[in-house]
Assembly symmetry: C2
Homo-oligomer: 313 residues x 2
């Protein structure tokens, strides 16, 4: 039986977001909270204080253990959980966790993964837990895409992160839309529309000719100025152009296995599904929140094994 | 004889800068002023007021005619000088000028050039005058690079702008250095060093694999975080990466004729000379200010022909 009693709390603690689930012994969600207590807030108020306040809000028992992934484990976070080095087996992520004492509570923070190649240095924190949730027990080779501010493409081989690459797609969109000459073009309609032909055309063109990326960005401005493009499409063109270039880079840096998996939620899910379809890349989609929660639960099972008389379902 | 009496004033009026020369009948510089009265200042104080104040500072005669290039001719400028359409003969730029009445003074504003191709919309304002100064009377095919906030690559064929592409290189460097996660990496040393091996390596790598641009940008951050790259090199890496991608894009969009000409001054001249040399692209360099002044003078000679009894040298 799984019962109504929480077995652990699972926390995905990112740069700008906080997500908490109370899970039962089978990994089912008993309660959930989302907040905006990212790194800045947590550093000001204290990580333990934010966590305890959120747990109290869900009436979590005093001794309930907590497993955490994400930027809370960075040098600027609660406490640093040193990176595992790629290639890294996803099954080894829990063993790399560090333990934090929060009163009598047992809190574990999962490590990120570093790629210490001087030609392609890279880091992830949080995505390794989504990958553990998605592929922890899988065999074979896969290519996973985890879109975001810093979008990751990861080559998985036999349950290990073989190599990965981070693209600044989301952050480039944000800084160009706010701080560059493109702000004039995006003023009226700042959100990309994954259904717009302009979005899909831009993704296709950019993937086919990624060497022209920084010219294609200026063309978003010039096309509007000259009345050649609908001003309402500017954000879609910008987004499609950036994502198309990311797809080209991912093929080059991470290869193209037979199956690609998109791990995403919400708007990013729709944008990347649209861009992948426009570019003829077949992909299955997993929900990013589900993947993180499953990864955290898999780690929790390693930290706090169930009693023999209380087997997991 | 050229004499000491000014023949005209020539003004390069950009988004953030104002440059004024008093020229004699031979095009020689009698006096010069530089200021920061770009578009914002000029819109607030009035274009005529800024110009008259600067002319008075040089004791320019009341009736001295003035030729202007740059953003002063944009829709948001003094008065719009409609674009010529590419392909556009450089010799036709003066005929596209508009005339502004500033009291009794004769002021002409030169037009920009537009590329009205929906697949590659593009615009220039100011560069056409540098190109007129550099190549107005030339034949044959050339590729010109005019670096800047919005860097231009232009294919010149028999004295005409055949095609061009604008790369957001300078603006990308600025917004990423100030507003992205790379700000943490560039904090200590925000200027690129064209002599640094990291700059040249980044230019070469990025030109060879421009599809990885947005990943290479993140690698500037990750390389520092992991201690694989010297933090002092971050700005050089960022700059080299962006310029290398521009070189790759220019080859693809504008072709590679036998002779490439860099039209640049100051820091940008050093950076682009370094990047071009690192990538094995042969280039001769012309001073950008000289080219603008020569182009303005060539236009002035068309507006205000010299008296027959007073021939040009």
């Amino acid at each position: 039986m799984t019962g109504d009693h929480p077995y652990c709390a699972a926390v995905d603690w990112g740069t700008t977001s906080f997500r908490l689930w109370l899970l039962d012994r089978g990994g089912a969600v008993l309660a959930e909270r989302r907040g905006d207590e990212g790194m800045t807030t947590a550093r000001e108020r204290g990580f333990a204080a934010v966590l305890e306040s959120r747990l109290a809000g869900l009436k979590a028992p005093a001794g309930l253990p907590v497993v955490v992934c994400g930027m809370a484990g960075s040098k600027q976070g609660w406490r640093e959980a040193p990176y595992l080095d790629a290639p890294a087996r996803l099954g080894d992520v829990p063993a790399g966790a560090i333990r934090v004492r929060d009163g009598t509570r047992d809190v574990r923070i999962l490590p990120g993964i570093a790629q210490r190649d001087p030609a392609r240095p890279d880091v992830m924190r949080g995505e390794e837990t989504q990958l553990l949730g998605a592929f922890g027990g899988s065999t074979g080779a896969r290519l996973a895409c985890l879109p975001g501010t810093h979008s990751k493409w990861v080559r998985i081989e036999n349950g290990a992160v073989a190599a990965f690459a981070t693209f600044m797609t989301g952050e480039l969109f944000a800084v160009l839309a706010r701080h560059s000459v493109l702000a004039h073009s995006l003023g009226a309609a700042p959100d990309a529309d994954p259904e717009a032909p302009a979005f899909r055309d831009a993704a296709r063109s950019s993937r086919a000719a990624p060497e022209g990326l920084t010219a294609a960005l200026f063309a978003v401005r010039a096309g509007g100025l000259l009345g050649l493009h609908d001003p309402a499409d500017a954000a879609s063109r910008l987004s499609g152009t950036l994502i198309g270039a990311e797809l080209a880079g991912a093929s080059s840096l991470c290869g193209q296995p037979s199956a690609a998996t998109l791990i995403a939620s919400g708007r990013l899910k729709a944008l990347y599904e649209g861009a992948l379809a426009a570019c003829g890349v077949e992909a299955e989609t997993l929900d990013a929140d589900d993947a993180a929660r499953r990864g955290l639960f898999a780690a929790a099972r390693r930290f706090w094994p169930l009693e023999p008389e209380d087997p997991a379902p």
